[in-house]
Protein backbone atom coordinates (compact mmCIF):
# COMPACT_ATOMS: atom_id res chain seq x y z
CA UNK A 1 0.00 0.00 0.00
CA UNK A 2 1.47 3.37 -0.84
CA UNK A 3 1.68 6.34 1.47
CA UNK A 4 -0.76 8.44 -0.50
CA UNK A 5 -3.49 5.84 -0.27
CA UNK A 6 -2.94 5.40 3.47
CA UNK A 7 -3.18 9.14 3.86
CA UNK A 8 -6.47 9.17 1.92
CA UNK A 9 -7.95 6.41 4.03
CA UNK A 10 -6.86 8.05 7.29
CA UNK A 11 -8.36 11.36 6.20
CA UNK A 12 -11.65 9.71 5.32
CA UNK A 13 -11.70 7.90 8.68
CA UNK A 14 -11.23 11.14 10.61
CA UNK A 15 -13.96 12.83 8.62
CA UNK A 16 -16.27 9.91 9.35
CA UNK A 17 -15.56 10.10 13.07
CA UNK A 18 -16.17 13.84 13.13
CA UNK A 19 -19.38 13.31 11.18
CA UNK A 20 -20.46 10.60 13.61
CA UNK A 21 -19.93 12.85 16.62
CA UNK A 22 -21.80 15.70 14.98
CA UNK A 23 -24.73 13.51 14.01
CA UNK A 24 -25.06 12.04 17.50
CA UNK A 25 -25.22 15.58 18.83
CA UNK A 26 -27.65 16.72 16.17
CA UNK A 27 -29.95 13.72 16.68
CA UNK A 28 -29.88 14.16 20.44
CA UNK A 29 -30.67 17.86 20.43
CA UNK A 30 -33.14 17.47 17.58
CA UNK A 31 -35.00 14.72 19.41
CA UNK A 32 -35.17 16.65 22.67
CA UNK A 33 -36.33 19.82 20.94
CA UNK A 34 -38.82 17.90 18.79
CA UNK A 35 -40.32 16.27 21.88
CA UNK A 36 -40.29 19.35 24.06
CA UNK A 37 -40.54 22.53 22.05
CA UNK A 38 -44.30 22.39 21.57
CA UNK A 39 -44.81 22.09 25.34
CA UNK A 40 -43.00 25.35 25.98
CA UNK A 41 -45.26 28.34 26.01
CA UNK A 42 -45.61 31.44 28.13
CA UNK A 43 -47.49 29.60 30.90
CA UNK A 44 -44.84 26.90 31.02
CA UNK A 45 -42.09 29.44 31.59
CA UNK A 46 -43.93 31.74 33.98
CA UNK A 47 -46.16 29.48 36.13
CA UNK A 48 -45.33 27.11 38.98
CA UNK A 49 -46.21 23.43 38.54
CA UNK A 50 -49.91 22.61 38.88
CA UNK A 51 -51.17 20.42 41.70
CA UNK A 52 -50.66 16.66 41.66
CA UNK A 53 -54.31 16.13 40.78
CA UNK A 54 -54.71 18.59 37.98
CA UNK A 55 -51.23 18.54 36.46
CA UNK A 56 -50.45 21.30 34.01
CA UNK A 57 -48.78 24.49 35.10
CA UNK A 58 -45.15 25.27 34.36
CA UNK A 59 -41.64 25.18 35.69
CA UNK A 60 -40.97 28.84 36.51
CA UNK A 61 -39.49 28.25 39.99
CA UNK A 62 -37.23 25.47 38.69
CA UNK A 63 -36.02 27.61 35.83
CA UNK A 64 -35.31 30.45 38.22
CA UNK A 65 -33.63 28.08 40.71
CA UNK A 66 -31.28 26.73 38.05
CA UNK A 67 -29.98 30.19 37.26
CA UNK A 68 -29.97 31.40 40.85
CA UNK A 69 -28.06 28.32 41.96
CA UNK A 70 -25.59 28.98 39.16
CA UNK A 71 -25.03 32.51 40.43
CA UNK A 72 -24.56 31.36 44.03
CA UNK A 73 -22.21 28.56 43.01
CA UNK A 74 -20.14 30.86 40.84
CA UNK A 75 -19.93 33.43 43.63
CA UNK A 76 -18.12 30.75 45.62
CA UNK A 77 -16.31 28.94 42.81
CA UNK A 78 -14.88 31.86 40.88
CA UNK A 79 -12.91 33.62 43.63
CA UNK A 80 -11.57 30.40 45.12
CA UNK A 81 -10.97 28.80 41.73
CA UNK A 82 -9.16 31.88 40.45
CA UNK A 83 -7.13 32.14 43.63
CA UNK A 84 -6.22 28.45 43.53
CA UNK A 85 -5.32 28.59 39.86
CA UNK A 86 -3.17 31.69 40.32
CA UNK A 87 -1.44 30.07 43.28
CA UNK A 88 -0.72 26.86 41.37
CA UNK A 89 0.55 28.66 38.28
CA UNK A 90 2.44 31.57 39.81
CA UNK A 91 3.39 30.85 43.40
CA UNK A 92 3.55 27.10 44.03
CA UNK A 93 7.15 25.90 44.07
CA UNK A 94 7.78 22.42 42.75
CA UNK A 95 8.02 20.00 45.66
CA UNK A 96 6.17 17.56 47.92
CA UNK A 97 3.59 20.10 49.04
CA UNK A 98 2.63 21.13 45.50
CA UNK A 99 2.50 17.50 44.41
CA UNK A 100 0.13 16.76 47.24
CA UNK A 101 -2.14 19.65 46.27
CA UNK A 102 -2.15 18.45 42.68
CA UNK A 103 -3.02 14.93 43.74
CA UNK A 104 -5.82 16.19 45.97
CA UNK A 105 -7.26 18.25 43.13
CA UNK A 106 -7.22 15.23 40.86
CA UNK A 107 -8.92 13.03 43.43
CA UNK A 108 -11.50 15.70 44.10
CA UNK A 109 -12.31 16.06 40.43
CA UNK A 110 -12.88 12.34 40.00
CA UNK A 111 -15.32 11.98 42.91
CA UNK A 112 -18.72 10.74 41.70
CA UNK A 113 -21.28 13.49 42.13
CA UNK A 114 -23.55 11.32 44.27
CA UNK A 115 -20.70 11.03 46.78
CA UNK A 116 -20.29 14.79 46.77
CA UNK A 117 -24.04 15.00 47.38
CA UNK A 118 -23.85 12.71 50.40
CA UNK A 119 -20.86 14.62 51.72
CA UNK A 120 -22.86 17.83 51.27
CA UNK A 121 -25.80 16.28 53.12
CA UNK A 122 -23.60 15.57 56.13
CA UNK A 123 -21.67 18.81 56.14
CA UNK A 124 -23.73 21.56 54.55
CA UNK A 125 -27.21 20.30 55.36
CA UNK A 126 -27.02 18.55 58.73
CA UNK A 127 -23.93 19.89 60.46
CA UNK A 128 -24.71 23.51 59.61
CA UNK A 129 -28.39 23.00 60.44
CA UNK A 130 -29.50 24.80 57.29
CA UNK A 131 -31.56 21.88 56.04
CA UNK A 132 -32.07 21.44 52.30
CA UNK A 133 -31.16 24.80 50.91
CA UNK A 134 -29.83 26.61 47.88
CA UNK A 135 -26.71 27.53 49.82
CA UNK A 136 -25.97 23.90 50.72
CA UNK A 137 -26.48 23.00 47.08
CA UNK A 138 -24.20 25.79 45.94
CA UNK A 139 -21.49 24.68 48.38
CA UNK A 140 -21.74 21.05 47.25
CA UNK A 141 -21.55 22.09 43.61
CA UNK A 142 -18.57 24.30 44.41
CA UNK A 143 -16.77 21.33 45.94
CA UNK A 144 -17.18 19.51 42.71
CA UNK A 145 -16.48 22.41 40.39
CA UNK A 146 -13.42 23.77 42.17
CA UNK A 147 -10.92 21.22 40.90
CA UNK A 148 -12.06 21.86 37.34
CA UNK A 149 -11.86 25.61 37.79
CA UNK A 150 -8.44 25.53 39.45
CA UNK A 151 -7.04 23.33 36.73
CA UNK A 152 -8.44 25.39 33.89
CA UNK A 153 -7.24 28.67 35.40
CA UNK A 154 -3.79 27.21 36.04
CA UNK A 155 -3.53 25.99 32.44
CA UNK A 156 -4.77 29.30 31.04
CA UNK A 157 -2.23 31.23 33.09
CA UNK A 158 0.64 28.90 32.26
CA UNK A 159 -0.14 29.38 28.58
CA UNK A 160 0.49 33.13 28.79
CA UNK A 161 3.85 33.76 27.08
CA UNK A 162 6.69 34.08 29.58
CA UNK A 163 8.05 37.01 27.58
CA UNK A 164 5.05 39.12 28.52
CA UNK A 165 5.45 38.43 32.21
CA UNK A 166 9.15 39.19 32.01
CA UNK A 167 8.51 42.41 30.09
CA UNK A 168 6.22 43.60 32.85
CA UNK A 169 8.50 42.58 35.72
CA UNK A 170 11.49 44.18 34.01
CA UNK A 171 9.64 47.50 34.03
CA UNK A 172 9.66 47.54 37.82
CA UNK A 173 6.12 46.26 38.14
CA UNK A 174 5.35 43.97 41.08
CA UNK A 175 4.40 40.34 40.64
CA UNK A 176 0.87 41.03 41.81
CA UNK A 177 0.38 43.98 39.45
CA UNK A 178 1.76 41.86 36.64
CA UNK A 179 -0.78 39.15 37.42
CA UNK A 180 -3.62 41.68 37.38
CA UNK A 181 -2.56 43.72 34.36
CA UNK A 182 -0.89 41.24 32.05
CA UNK A 183 -1.45 37.64 33.04
CA UNK A 184 -5.15 37.55 33.90
CA UNK A 185 -6.28 39.58 30.85
CA UNK A 186 -4.24 37.34 28.57
CA UNK A 187 -5.61 34.23 30.28
CA UNK A 188 -9.20 35.45 30.14
CA UNK A 189 -10.42 33.37 27.17
CA UNK A 190 -9.18 30.19 28.84
CA UNK A 191 -10.74 31.19 32.12
CA UNK A 192 -14.08 31.87 30.41
CA UNK A 193 -13.98 28.39 28.90
CA UNK A 194 -13.49 26.95 32.38
CA UNK A 195 -16.33 29.05 33.67
CA UNK A 196 -18.66 27.78 30.94
CA UNK A 197 -17.69 24.15 31.56
CA UNK A 198 -18.32 24.61 35.27
CA UNK A 199 -21.66 26.30 34.58
CA UNK A 200 -22.73 23.44 32.36
CA UNK A 201 -22.16 21.08 35.23
CA UNK A 202 -24.30 23.23 37.52
CA UNK A 203 -27.17 23.27 35.03
CA UNK A 204 -26.97 19.56 34.41
CA UNK A 205 -26.25 18.25 37.88
CA UNK A 206 -28.98 16.36 39.69
CA UNK A 207 -27.35 13.73 41.89
CA UNK A 208 -25.35 16.13 44.05
CA UNK A 209 -28.39 18.35 44.50
CA UNK A 210 -30.93 15.73 45.57
CA UNK A 211 -29.41 15.63 49.04
CA UNK A 212 -28.37 19.25 49.36
CA UNK A 213 -30.74 21.68 47.66
CA UNK A 214 -33.61 19.22 47.92
CA UNK A 215 -36.30 18.10 45.51
CA UNK A 216 -39.00 20.60 46.30
CA UNK A 217 -39.57 24.28 45.89
CA UNK A 218 -41.69 26.24 48.33
CA UNK A 219 -44.37 28.51 46.95
CA UNK A 220 -42.47 31.52 45.77
CA UNK A 221 -43.66 35.09 45.62
CA UNK A 222 -41.79 36.65 42.72
CA UNK A 223 -42.62 40.15 43.93
CA UNK A 224 -40.82 39.62 47.23
CA UNK A 225 -37.13 40.50 46.86
CA UNK A 226 -36.17 40.42 50.54
CA UNK A 227 -33.58 37.61 50.73
CA UNK A 228 -34.40 36.84 54.36
CA UNK A 229 -38.07 36.12 53.74
CA UNK A 230 -38.96 32.41 53.34
CA UNK A 231 -41.16 32.97 50.29
CA UNK A 232 -38.64 35.17 48.52
CA UNK A 233 -37.03 33.54 45.48
CA UNK A 234 -33.73 35.12 46.55
CA UNK A 235 -33.62 33.47 49.97
CA UNK A 236 -30.49 31.27 49.86
CA UNK A 237 -31.64 29.18 52.81
CA UNK A 238 -34.81 27.85 51.18
CA UNK A 239 -34.98 24.43 49.55
CA UNK A 240 -35.01 24.49 45.77
CA UNK A 241 -35.34 22.02 42.95
CA UNK A 242 -33.57 22.92 39.74
CA UNK A 243 -34.73 22.02 36.25
CA UNK A 244 -32.45 19.00 36.13
CA UNK A 245 -33.68 17.73 39.49
CA UNK A 246 -37.26 18.42 38.40
CA UNK A 247 -36.80 16.33 35.28
CA UNK A 248 -35.39 13.48 37.32
CA UNK A 249 -38.17 13.71 39.88
CA UNK A 250 -40.98 13.88 37.35
CA UNK A 251 -39.65 10.91 35.48
CA UNK A 252 -39.04 8.74 38.49
CA UNK A 253 -41.78 9.42 40.97
CA UNK A 254 -44.43 11.78 39.69
CA UNK A 255 -47.98 10.56 39.26
CA UNK A 256 -49.37 13.54 37.37
CA UNK A 257 -50.95 12.52 34.10
CA UNK A 258 -48.86 14.83 31.92
CA UNK A 259 -45.52 13.88 33.51
CA UNK A 260 -43.83 12.90 30.27
CA UNK A 261 -44.95 16.10 28.61
CA UNK A 262 -43.54 18.22 31.44
CA UNK A 263 -40.29 16.28 31.42
CA UNK A 264 -39.92 16.76 27.69
CA UNK A 265 -40.66 20.47 27.94
CA UNK A 266 -38.25 20.90 30.84
CA UNK A 267 -35.49 19.09 28.96
CA UNK A 268 -35.93 21.30 25.92
CA UNK A 269 -36.01 24.38 28.12
CA UNK A 270 -32.84 23.27 29.91
CA UNK A 271 -31.00 22.76 26.63
CA UNK A 272 -32.11 26.12 25.29
CA UNK A 273 -31.12 27.78 28.55
CA UNK A 274 -27.65 26.21 28.49
CA UNK A 275 -27.15 27.17 24.84
CA UNK A 276 -28.16 30.78 25.37
CA UNK A 277 -26.03 30.97 28.48
CA UNK A 278 -22.94 29.52 26.78
CA UNK A 279 -23.22 31.74 23.76
CA UNK A 280 -23.71 34.90 25.78
CA UNK A 281 -20.88 34.02 28.18
CA UNK A 282 -18.58 33.51 25.22
CA UNK A 283 -19.72 36.71 23.59
CA UNK A 284 -19.34 38.73 26.80
CA UNK A 285 -15.95 37.16 27.41
CA UNK A 286 -14.75 38.12 23.97
CA UNK A 287 -16.06 41.62 24.32
CA UNK A 288 -14.33 41.98 27.66
CA UNK A 289 -11.12 40.52 26.28
CA UNK A 290 -11.14 43.05 23.48
CA UNK A 291 -11.64 45.82 26.00
CA UNK A 292 -8.78 44.64 28.18
CA UNK A 293 -6.35 43.93 25.40
CA UNK A 294 -6.09 45.28 21.93
CA UNK A 295 -6.27 42.48 19.44
CA UNK A 296 -8.29 43.80 16.57
Amino acid sequence: MNAKLTDRIATICFYLIAFLILSVLAILIGFILYQGLHVIDWTFITQPPGSILTGGGGVAPQLFNSFYLLVLTMLITIPIGLGGGIYMAEYAKPGKWTQMIRLSIEVLSSLPSIVVGLFGLLLFVQLTGWGFSLLSGALALSVFNLPLMVRVVEQAISAVPKEQTEASLALGVTHWQTIMKVILPAALPGIITGFILASGRVFGEAAALLFTAGMTSPVLDFTNWDPSSPTSPLNPLRPASTLAVHIWKINSESIVSDASKIAAGSSALLIIGVLIFNLSARFLGQWFYKKLTSTR
Binding site: E163, A167, A170, L171, V173, T174, T293, S294
Partner: protein
Protein backbone atom coordinates in the same frame (compact mmCIF):
# COMPACT_ATOMS: atom_id res chain seq x y z
CA UNK B 1 34.63 58.89 33.98
CA UNK B 2 32.63 57.51 36.90
CA UNK B 3 31.87 53.85 37.28
CA UNK B 4 28.13 53.17 37.17
CA UNK B 5 28.23 49.40 37.49
CA UNK B 6 31.03 47.56 39.28
CA UNK B 7 31.31 43.80 39.07
CA UNK B 8 33.33 42.00 41.75
CA UNK B 9 34.14 38.28 41.57
CA UNK B 10 30.75 37.52 40.12
CA UNK B 11 29.81 33.86 39.61
CA UNK B 12 26.50 32.37 38.56
CA UNK B 13 25.28 28.77 38.65
CA UNK B 14 22.30 27.16 36.96
CA UNK B 15 21.88 24.31 39.43
CA UNK B 16 25.29 22.61 39.32
CA UNK B 17 26.35 24.19 36.03
CA UNK B 18 28.51 27.24 36.41
CA UNK B 19 27.59 29.73 33.68
CA UNK B 20 29.70 32.73 34.78
CA UNK B 21 33.17 32.60 36.31
CA UNK B 22 34.79 35.31 38.44
CA UNK B 23 33.75 38.36 36.47
CA UNK B 24 35.53 41.61 37.42
CA UNK B 25 35.09 44.86 35.53
CA UNK B 26 33.47 48.29 35.59
CA UNK B 27 30.94 49.87 33.27
CA UNK B 28 31.15 53.63 33.00
CA UNK B 29 28.34 56.08 33.35
CA UNK B 30 26.94 57.49 30.09
CA UNK B 31 28.88 55.11 27.95
CA UNK B 32 27.91 52.20 25.76
CA UNK B 33 29.47 48.88 26.69
CA UNK B 34 29.19 46.03 24.19
CA UNK B 35 29.25 42.33 25.10
CA UNK B 36 30.47 40.06 22.33
CA UNK B 37 31.18 36.35 22.23
CA UNK B 38 29.97 33.10 20.70
CA UNK B 39 26.52 31.69 21.38
CA UNK B 40 26.05 30.17 24.84
CA UNK B 41 29.00 31.96 26.45
CA UNK B 42 26.89 33.73 29.09
CA UNK B 43 26.20 37.22 27.69
CA UNK B 44 22.45 37.10 28.28
CA UNK B 45 22.97 35.42 31.62
CA UNK B 46 25.16 38.26 32.79
CA UNK B 47 22.84 40.92 31.40
CA UNK B 48 19.92 39.37 33.26
CA UNK B 49 22.03 39.28 36.42
CA UNK B 50 22.26 43.08 36.47
CA UNK B 51 18.51 43.61 36.90
CA UNK B 52 18.14 40.26 38.65
CA UNK B 53 15.77 38.76 36.08
CA UNK B 54 17.58 35.48 36.74
CA UNK B 55 15.84 35.36 40.09
CA UNK B 56 12.80 34.11 38.17
CA UNK B 57 14.62 30.95 37.13
CA UNK B 58 14.54 28.23 39.78
CA UNK B 59 17.85 26.98 41.18
CA UNK B 60 19.96 29.94 40.10
CA UNK B 61 22.73 30.71 42.61
CA UNK B 62 25.09 33.66 42.52
CA UNK B 63 28.31 34.53 44.36
CA UNK B 64 30.04 37.89 44.33
CA UNK B 65 28.73 41.38 43.83
CA UNK B 66 27.27 43.66 41.21
CA UNK B 67 27.20 47.25 42.46
CA UNK B 68 25.15 49.99 40.89
CA UNK B 69 26.08 53.42 42.26
CA UNK B 70 28.07 51.64 44.98
CA UNK B 71 25.01 49.68 46.07
CA UNK B 72 25.21 45.88 45.80
CA UNK B 73 22.10 44.70 43.93
CA UNK B 74 22.44 41.27 45.56
CA UNK B 75 22.14 42.81 49.00
CA UNK B 76 19.36 40.93 50.84
CA UNK B 77 17.58 44.23 51.43
CA UNK B 78 17.58 45.20 47.76
CA UNK B 79 14.10 46.11 46.55
CA UNK B 80 13.75 44.36 43.18
CA UNK B 81 10.95 46.62 41.99
CA UNK B 82 13.05 49.72 42.64
CA UNK B 83 16.08 48.12 41.02
CA UNK B 84 14.16 47.33 37.84
CA UNK B 85 12.75 50.84 37.67
CA UNK B 86 16.33 52.07 37.43
CA UNK B 87 17.59 49.35 35.14
CA UNK B 88 15.45 49.01 32.03
CA UNK B 89 15.75 46.00 29.74
CA UNK B 90 15.13 45.47 26.05
CA UNK B 91 14.82 41.78 25.30
CA UNK B 92 16.21 39.84 22.37
CA UNK B 93 12.73 39.24 20.96
CA UNK B 94 10.46 42.30 20.86
CA UNK B 95 7.75 41.59 23.42
CA UNK B 96 5.05 44.26 23.33
CA UNK B 97 1.92 43.60 25.36
CA UNK B 98 -1.27 42.77 23.44
CA UNK B 99 -2.43 46.32 24.02
CA UNK B 100 -2.57 49.43 21.89
CA UNK B 101 0.62 51.30 21.01
CA UNK B 102 -0.33 54.03 23.45
CA UNK B 103 -1.09 51.65 26.31
CA UNK B 104 2.20 49.84 25.79
CA UNK B 105 4.19 53.02 26.30
CA UNK B 106 2.24 54.22 29.34
CA UNK B 107 2.06 50.77 30.95
CA UNK B 108 4.96 51.47 33.32
CA UNK B 109 4.21 55.13 34.13
CA UNK B 110 0.54 54.34 34.81
CA UNK B 111 1.38 51.59 37.25
CA UNK B 112 3.97 53.81 38.87
CA UNK B 113 1.27 56.34 39.61
CA UNK B 114 0.97 58.83 36.74
CA UNK B 115 -2.68 59.22 35.79
CA UNK B 116 -3.03 62.69 34.27
CA UNK B 117 -3.92 62.38 30.62
CA UNK B 118 -1.80 65.35 29.57
CA UNK B 119 1.23 63.97 31.33
CA UNK B 120 0.79 60.54 29.77
CA UNK B 121 0.32 62.06 26.32
CA UNK B 122 3.53 63.98 26.79
CA UNK B 123 5.40 60.80 27.78
CA UNK B 124 4.07 58.94 24.75
CA UNK B 125 5.09 61.66 22.33
CA UNK B 126 8.51 62.23 23.88
CA UNK B 127 9.54 58.58 24.16
CA UNK B 128 8.19 57.58 20.75
CA UNK B 129 10.11 60.48 19.23
CA UNK B 130 13.24 59.40 21.07
CA UNK B 131 12.77 55.89 19.77
CA UNK B 132 12.32 57.20 16.18
CA UNK B 133 8.84 55.71 15.96
CA UNK B 134 6.62 58.75 16.41
CA UNK B 135 6.25 59.70 12.75
CA UNK B 136 5.24 56.19 11.78
CA UNK B 137 2.58 55.70 14.45
CA UNK B 138 1.35 59.13 15.57
CA UNK B 139 -1.91 58.72 13.62
CA UNK B 140 -2.72 55.29 15.00
CA UNK B 141 -1.70 55.27 18.65
CA UNK B 142 -4.84 53.26 19.42
CA UNK B 143 -3.92 50.50 16.99
CA UNK B 144 -2.75 47.18 18.44
CA UNK B 145 0.98 47.03 19.04
CA UNK B 146 1.11 43.47 17.76
CA UNK B 147 0.17 44.82 14.32
CA UNK B 148 3.51 46.62 14.02
CA UNK B 149 6.45 45.17 12.13
CA UNK B 150 9.26 43.49 14.06
CA UNK B 151 11.50 46.54 13.82
CA UNK B 152 8.71 48.87 14.88
CA UNK B 153 7.90 46.60 17.80
CA UNK B 154 11.52 46.70 18.89
CA UNK B 155 11.50 50.51 18.85
CA UNK B 156 8.17 50.46 20.70
CA UNK B 157 9.59 48.39 23.55
CA UNK B 158 12.53 50.79 23.69
CA UNK B 159 10.06 53.66 24.09
CA UNK B 160 8.30 51.61 26.75
CA UNK B 161 11.56 51.31 28.67
CA UNK B 162 12.39 55.02 28.25
CA UNK B 163 8.96 55.87 29.67
CA UNK B 164 9.92 54.58 33.12
CA UNK B 165 13.02 56.83 33.06
CA UNK B 166 15.69 54.34 34.05
CA UNK B 167 19.37 55.36 34.29
CA UNK B 168 20.68 52.14 32.82
CA UNK B 169 19.36 50.35 29.74
CA UNK B 170 20.27 46.73 29.05
CA UNK B 171 19.76 45.56 25.47
CA UNK B 172 20.00 41.91 24.49
CA UNK B 173 20.73 41.70 20.77
CA UNK B 174 18.16 44.38 20.02
CA UNK B 175 18.98 44.40 16.31
CA UNK B 176 18.82 40.67 15.70
CA UNK B 177 15.34 40.86 14.17
CA UNK B 178 15.84 44.12 12.29
CA UNK B 179 16.52 44.95 8.66
CA UNK B 180 19.59 47.07 7.82
CA UNK B 181 17.71 50.38 7.81
CA UNK B 182 16.04 49.76 11.15
CA UNK B 183 19.38 48.61 12.51
CA UNK B 184 21.02 51.83 11.44
CA UNK B 185 18.28 53.83 13.08
CA UNK B 186 18.60 51.80 16.25
CA UNK B 187 22.34 52.51 16.32
CA UNK B 188 21.71 56.23 15.91
CA UNK B 189 19.21 56.01 18.73
CA UNK B 190 21.70 54.28 21.02
CA UNK B 191 24.31 56.95 20.33
CA UNK B 192 21.75 59.64 21.17
CA UNK B 193 20.62 57.86 24.32
CA UNK B 194 24.18 57.63 25.55
CA UNK B 195 24.01 61.29 26.48
CA UNK B 196 21.67 60.54 29.34
CA UNK B 197 21.80 56.79 29.91
CA UNK B 198 24.33 54.11 30.68
CA UNK B 199 23.86 51.42 28.06
CA UNK B 200 24.89 47.79 27.91
CA UNK B 201 24.31 45.99 24.64
CA UNK B 202 24.82 42.38 23.63
CA UNK B 203 25.61 41.98 19.97
CA UNK B 204 26.87 39.38 17.54
CA UNK B 205 27.79 42.05 15.06
CA UNK B 206 31.42 43.18 15.42
CA UNK B 207 30.97 46.20 13.16
CA UNK B 208 28.04 47.26 15.27
CA UNK B 209 30.06 46.95 18.46
CA UNK B 210 32.78 49.11 16.94
CA UNK B 211 30.32 51.71 15.67
CA UNK B 212 28.41 52.28 18.87
CA UNK B 213 30.37 51.16 21.91
CA UNK B 214 33.02 52.80 24.06
CA UNK B 215 34.12 49.64 25.83
CA UNK B 216 33.80 46.01 24.81
CA UNK B 217 33.85 42.80 26.82
CA UNK B 218 34.66 39.54 25.07
CA UNK B 219 32.90 36.59 26.72
CA UNK B 220 33.95 32.99 26.21
CA UNK B 221 32.57 29.93 28.02
CA UNK B 222 31.43 31.98 30.99
CA UNK B 223 34.69 33.93 31.37
CA UNK B 224 35.41 37.49 30.34
CA UNK B 225 38.55 36.93 28.31
CA UNK B 226 39.22 40.55 27.51
CA UNK B 227 37.67 43.83 28.53
CA UNK B 228 38.98 47.08 27.05
CA UNK B 229 38.30 50.25 25.13
CA UNK B 230 36.51 49.19 21.96
CA UNK B 231 39.09 50.58 19.56
CA UNK B 232 41.90 48.95 21.48
CA UNK B 233 40.17 45.59 21.77
CA UNK B 234 39.44 45.34 18.06
CA UNK B 235 42.72 46.79 16.81
CA UNK B 236 45.21 45.32 19.26
CA UNK B 237 43.66 42.46 21.15
CA UNK B 238 46.00 41.23 23.87
CA UNK B 239 44.51 37.74 24.04
CA UNK B 240 44.96 35.07 21.42
CA UNK B 241 41.30 33.99 21.70
CA UNK B 242 40.02 37.53 21.21
CA UNK B 243 42.11 37.92 18.10
CA UNK B 244 40.80 34.64 16.71
CA UNK B 245 37.19 35.50 17.50
CA UNK B 246 37.21 38.96 15.95
CA UNK B 247 38.98 37.55 12.93
CA UNK B 248 35.99 35.26 12.55
CA UNK B 249 37.91 32.05 13.15
CA UNK B 250 35.24 30.60 15.47
CA UNK B 251 31.88 31.42 17.02
Amino acid sequence: MTAKIEVHDFNLFYGKNQALHDLNFQLNEREVTAFIGPSGCGKSTFLRSINRMNDLIPNVKVRGQIKIDQQNVYDPHQDLVELRKHVGMVFQQPNPFPLSIYDNVVYGPRIHGISKKAELNEIVERTLKQANLWDEVKDRLDAPALGLSGGQQQRLVIARVLAIQPDIILMDEPASALDPISTERLEELIIQLKESYTIVIVTHNMQQAQRISDQTAFFLNGYVVEFAQTQRLFQQPTQQKTAEYIAGQFG
